[in-house]
Amino acid sequence: MTTTEVPKLSFWSRALSFAREIWAVLIRPSSIFSLGFLVLAGFVAGVIFWGAFNTALELTNTETFCISCHEMRSNVAEELKTTIHYNNRSGVRAHCPDCHVPHEWTHKIARKMQASKEVWGKLFGTINTREKFLDHRLELAIHEWARMKANDSLECRNCHSAQSMDTTRQSPRAVEAHQRFLFTGQKTCIDCHKGIAHHLPDMRNVPGWQ
C-alpha cells in the first residue's frame, strides 16, 4: 500500500494560512466593487457600529444596570432611597448615572474607561460583602469627592445651576452660605454637600468635619 498521505495540519497553522489569505485580499484593490459602493457600505457600516456602540453605552448608563450587581443594589442604592434625591414632593428622581457619570460625551467616555477598574473589582470581589464595602467606603467616597471637586460639581450643576437659584425661596441659612461661598466661587457644591445621597464614611480628618 503506497498512498501519498496528506499531512494533517494543526488548527493554528490552518488559522495562520487563513489569516494570510484574508490579508492578501485586504491589501489588494477591489476588482469587483466600485469605489462608490465601498465608500457607501463603509459609511452605512460605520453608522450601524456607532449606533450600536452608543446604545450599548447607554445601556450601561441606567439604574437597572447599576443595581444588577448586589454590591450596588444592597449598599449604595438602598441608602439612596431615604434621601431627597430619590423621594421628594415634586417626584423628580436622580438615578445613579445622573450624579456619577458626566452627561457630555467626551467626559462620559473618559469616566467609562476609568470604570473598567470597577469591572476588575467586581470580578475579584473587592466589595462583595457588606464588611468589605464598609472598609472601602472612605476610599470610594474620596474618589468621588475628588472627581466632583475637579469638575466643579458638574453633575450637581446639570440640574442645580447657581444662576437659576432663587435665593428668596431658600432658608436664611442657605442664602447666607450660598452667597458667601457658592456665588463667589470660593467653594463648589461637594465641599459642603457631602453624604447627601449615601451614608458617610468615617469623616475624621476630612476637611470641615470633626
Binding site: R173, G208, W209, Q210
Partner: protein, 112 residues
C-alpha cells in the same frame, strides 16, 4: 408631618437649663459613629466659616467633670436633647408658664 421650621431665628429657652431647640431643618443630617453633620457647623473650629453658635463648653466635660479636648461622647448625639421644631396644631393644650411670667404675676411689694 408639617415641614420643619427653618427660619434660623433662635427661640428663647422656656427655662434656663432647657437645651436650645434647633431653629432650622435637619432633614438628611447624618449623626452616626462615622459622621456628625451638626458638628460640621457648630464645632469650635467650624464656627468662623459657619457663623453658627458653638456647642456649649459644658459639652466638653465627661461625667466625672473632666474637661476633654473636644465634645464628650455622652454629648455626641445632638438630637437626644436638641430638637427641630414643626408648626403643628397641638392635640393637648399646654398651660406651661415660665418663671418670669410667674414672678411678674406676683403682687407688688411681695417678696421676689
Amino acid at each position: 408631618m408639617t415641614p420643619e421650621q427653618n427660619s434660623s431665628v433662635r427661640e428663647p429657652r422656656n427655662y434656663p437649663e432647657q437645651p436650645p431647640v434647633i431653629p432650622h431643618s435637619t432633614e438628611g443630617y447624618e449623626v452616626s459613629v462615622n459622621a456628625n453633620k451638626c458638628l460640621s457647623c457648630h464645632a469650635r473650629t467650624r464656627v468662623r466659616e459657619s457663623q453658627a453658635p458653638m456647642i456649649s463648653i459644658t459639652h466638653f466635660s465627661d461625667r466625672d467633670g473632666q474637661f476633654l479636648a473636644s465634645i464628650s461622647p455622652r454629648r455626641y448625639f445632638c438630637t437626644q436633647c436638641h430638637v427641630p421644631q414643626h408648626n403643628v396644631q397641638i392635640p393637648v393644650d399646654n398651660d406651661f408658664v415660665d418663671i418670669d411670667t410667674v414672678l411678674k404675676g406676683a403682687a407688688p411689694g411681695r417678696p421676689r
